[in-house]
């Protein structure tokens, strides 16, 4: 990965230096050239275009390493420089100082046949704009066809039969030339394929624009605005040419704008840098250009028509036209302003509508408050948007189900806090591009305030419930731990002490003459002690049977052997968490006690096994049935304890058909 990154960086700078070298050569040759075939300004536009494409290419390729668009821009800059070099090399080496440069015929060949390369990079960018991937897998064959037709056309161009165009008609190609018969058909097909590829590229952008929403839509719109400069520049050039003034200022401005705007727009769109601001800027520019054009047209129409009507020399047409423009300006300006505002507020308007509809659904109970985050994502056109809720007690963010969430803004995503009055509700993590549209972001979040508050309360309830469930389980587990400690204390403390006392009494008894009153009294005292020890042992067993240390099977076996009923045990030898085994044991113990007391049963079967991720304990008797869980004294408490461990207890006791008590204790977290 690191190696790949380094290789990419090296490749990047190799391309940049190559491009710079090629461009420097082209500029040098152009400066040396005494009779330029092209207008002077063209020699400025060319390096500008190369520099822009390469510069934006470097930025995009470094910031979005996984997006090929940066590399395509770099390729475009290089190809542009190469074409310029070829043209200048050919002009200098063939026309001006014939024979002064080596291999000038190659330069002529490239100059004459290499021009399709100028379209290749932009066509490819259109296919994969803005995320670097084709619009869908179905576009793969189309992209392949486009690459094939470009390659075929380019190769055939180099092998084209016949002489070069003037003024290079004297130069002969350094490559062999195909016979006309073989050349023509594939060349035509290649040309048509290439043309079709250009259309397909435009179609790819349109397809994307249709499907796109939110940020992607802005990205494509930005490219479309920049691309719209091309026909605008062409039209400006025509108009200038038609006017025949000999000036080419409009053409130059148009060309410079196109050359600068398109790579810039691509860069801004892909990097999302100030996306919305640029969006706004272009939008405004377009509208003001339209306004100016409208006013100019009004002026021209009025002055022309009045001039024709009143004859030349009158000042009236000019005055009237000025007046008309002045009058129209106010009305047009407010209209255009409204258009601008509507265009701008559209995202906000639609976003607010979306939130409003959701609030209605929410009130009607047709939508869940947990969906608030998704609604915000849709309303703000940012599918990556996430909503988090603030929990003041634990000072952390949680998601809509109350689980603690890591909220980490990075280079693509910003965090915007959500407040309602003085209450901190949470935060929205969203695409950085949205940060430039504070108005949109804040108004949509404000509108959704109530929903966010409800969702936050729900999340908090969910969180507290989870907490309570956990603490309940902890309490029960701690209770079992406490029982274990108590049992230990009874056995190791009190009971041993009683035995010691007994031994002391026996020792004293040993000193007395055998048949004496005192010896007899000591005998009965020791008998009392033995009773007490036995009772203590019973007590400890009730607190927690020590056999549980050997596993549930051992403890259930002991339980069965002490039962008044004939009891069969089928228990797994598997070990489970102590709290589960203890709970399972007490369920069985209670169920057995109930069977012995109320069910008039003669036989009981106790089973314990792992089943579907749970420890399943089942006590089945052949008694009279009809037990209700609420009446079962001990089972009521057991229901709570089992539930606290996330399990469930069921009692199935149809009259006359025995009783089945089943506890299911989940043992996989």
């Amino acid at each position: 990965m690191i190696g790949g990154m380094r290789a990419a960086r090296v490749a990047l700078w190799v391309v940049v230096f190559l491009t710079a070298g090629v461009m420097a050569g082209a500029v040098l040759l152009d400066a040396l050239s005494s009779r330029s075939t092209e207008p002077v300004w063209l020699s400025f536009v060319f390096p500008l275009a190369v520099a822009m494409s390469t510069g934006v290419g470097v930025v995009v390729a470094t910031r979005r390493r996984d997006n090929p668009i940066g590399w395509l821009l770099l390729a475009n800059g290089f190809v542009l420089a190469l074409n310029g070099l070829a043209a200048n090399y050919a002009t200098y080496g063939v026309l001006e100082h014939s024979g002064s440069l080596p291999e000038a015929d190659w330069a002529v060949l490239f100059d004459q046949s290499g021009w399709p390369t100028l379209f290749a990079a932009f066509t490819a960018i259109a296919f994969v704009f803005p995320d670097g991937r084709l619009p869908s897998p179905r576009w793969r064959p189309i992209a392949l066809a486009a690459i094939t037709s470009f390659t075929v056309f380019l190769l055939l161009s180099f092998l084209r039969p016949g002489s070069f165009e003037k003024p290079f008609d004297a130069v002969s190609s350094p490559l062999p030339q195909l016979p006309e018969a073989i050349f023509f058909a594939p060349f035509t097909i290649g040309a048509l394929g290439m043309l079709a590829s250009l259309f397909a590229a435009a179609l790819a952008v349109r397809t994307r624009l249709r499907r796109a929403s939110g940020i992607e839509r802005s990205q494509i719109k930005l490219l479309a605005y920049a691309a719209a400069l091309i026909p605008a520049a062409v039209v400006a050039g025509w108009v200038e040419g038609l006017m025949g003034s000999g000036s080419d200022t409009a053409t130059v401005i148009g060309l410079v704008l196109v050359v600068l705007a398109i790579p810039l727009a691509i860069g801004v769109a892909v990097l999302r840098y100030r996306l919305y601001e640029v969006d706004r800027l272009i939008n405004r520019t377009l509208v003001y250009v339209a306004l100016s054009a409208l006013l100019a047209a009004t002026y021209a129409a009025v002055s022309l028509s009045l001039g024709v009507a009143l004859g030349a020399g009158s000042t009236l047409p000019t005055a009237a036209a000025t007046l008309a423009v002045a009058l129209a300006f106010g009305a047009l300006r407010s209209r255009v302003q409204m258009l601008v505002d509507r265009r701008f507020s559209r995202a906000r308007y639609e976003g607010l509508q979306r939130v409003e509809r959701y609030l209605v659904e929410l009130r009607a109970g047709r939508a869940a408050p947990e969906a608030t985050g998704e609604v915000l994502a849709a309303a703000l056109g940012d599918p990556s948007l996430e909503l988090f809720f603030w929990v003041p007690e634990s000072e952390e963010h949680v998601d809509s189900s109350g689980r603690p969430a890591q909220v980490a803004p990075d280079s693509h995503r910003d965090l915007t806090p959500v407040r309602r009055g003085s209450l901190r509700l949470g935060a929205v993590l969203h695409d950085s591009a949205l940060s430039e549209r504070r108005d949109l972001l804040e108004s949509v979040i404000d509108a959704a305030g109530l929903a966010i508050e409800i969702a936050r309360l729900r999340a908090e309830v969910a969180r507290r419930l989870a907490e309570v469930e956990q603490s309940r389980a902890r309490i029960v587990t701690a209770g079992y731990e406490e029982r274990r400690r108590l049992e230990r204390d009874l056995h190791d403390g009190a009971q041993q002490r009683l035995v010691s006392i007994g031994l002391a009494l026996r020792h004293v008894q040993g000193q007395l003459p055998a048949p004496s009153r005192e010896a007899g009294e000591l005998d009965s005292a020791v008998a009392e002690l033995t009773e007490a020890i036995e009772e203590l042992r019973e007590l400890a067993r009730g607190v927690r049977p020590a056999r549980l240390d050997d596993g549930l099977g051992a403890a259930l076996g002991e339980l069965a052997s002490r039962s008044a009923l004939q009891t069969r045990v089928e228990a797994t030898g598997e070990r489970f968490a102590d709290s589960l085994e203890t709970a399972a044991y007490f369920v069985a113990s209670e169920a057995l006690a109930n069977a012995a007391k109320h069910a008039q049963a003669s036989q009981v079967t106790v089973t314990a096994a792992r089943q579907n991720g749970s420890l399943l304990v089942c006590v089945r008797d052949d008694g009279v049935g009809g037990t209700r869980p609420a009446e079962g004294t001990g089972l009521g408490g057991m229901t709570d304890r089992v539930a606290a461990l996330g399990g469930s207890l069921s009692v199935d006791s149809p009259p006359g058909q025995g009783t089945v008590v089943t506890a299911e204790l989940p043992c996989e977290s």
Partner: protein, 215 residues
């Protein structure tokens, strides 16, 4: 009889020492943990080691592990394990090696029976606590349906490790009567008669455990 006592509670340890000394036995060591017990056994092989199940450091089954070690390393030393309650099933299994006894602690209060069991173990016999036997006999009643109450009593005492003679004294019967009951029990349970007392215990216990765990 030369006795080593391993019991971590001082009061009880001294009580046990006096109990054995009052009966004329020789307590050669009274210690509080398993490590010193091993040293004591290795140094001067006694006839009997009386061991508490729970001892330092972990207070879980040090006693049982020490007992197992003694039975393996010093088969001539009888081992009597004392426990606060019926615990590890592993202890019962050790009875099969002979020279092993497993009793609840408060049995020491019935001095005569306790000393009898201790001497039996020291001689290579067995002693199993009545409560353990009861849990073995108590589970599956059907298996003993063929036995009379008296025979069941005899069976229990056999499982505790008592000899015919001791059973006779305990039940206040003549030796001959007890022998009759034993024969009858063994026949009804389809066990072969065996003169060796601890083998007989083994057979009976194996039978009882099998009856409790049909699988």
């Amino acid at each position: 009889m030369r006795v080593v006592i391993a019991e971590d509670q001082a009061l009880l340890r001294e009580g046990l020492r006096r109990l054995f000394e009052d009966a004329g036995h020789d307590v050669i060591a009274a210690i509080e943990d398993a490590d010193r017990l091993r040293a004591a056994i290795s140094g001067d092989e006694p006839d009997l080691a009386v061991i508490d199940v729970r001892m330092p450091p972990s207070f879980t089954d040090e006693g049982i592990r020490a007992a197992r070690w003694i039975l393996d390393a010093h088969p001539d030393v009888g081992v009597l394990v004392l426990s606060q309650h019926v615990e590890s099933a592993g202890a019962v299994g050790l009875v099969s090696q002979g020279g092993f006894g497993y009793l609840l602690k408060d049995r020491v209060l019935d001095v005569a029976e306790f000393l009898e069991a201790a001497e039996r173990v020291a001689r290579g016999g067995s002693a199993l606590d009545p409560q353990v036997v009861a849990s073995l006999v108590g589970g599956e009643r059907d298996a003993f349906g063929a036995l009379t109450d008296r025979e069941r009593e005899v069976l229990s005492l056999m499982a505790e490790g008592l000899t015919n003679n001791a059973i006779a004294r305990r039940l206040v019967l003549t030796d001959r009567t007890v022998e009759g009951h034993v024969r009858s029990v063994l026949m009804k349970l389809d066990l072969t008669a065996n003169e060796d007392a601890h083998r007989r215990v083994l057979a009976v216990i194996t039978y009882l455990r099998a009856a409790n765990h049909p699988r």
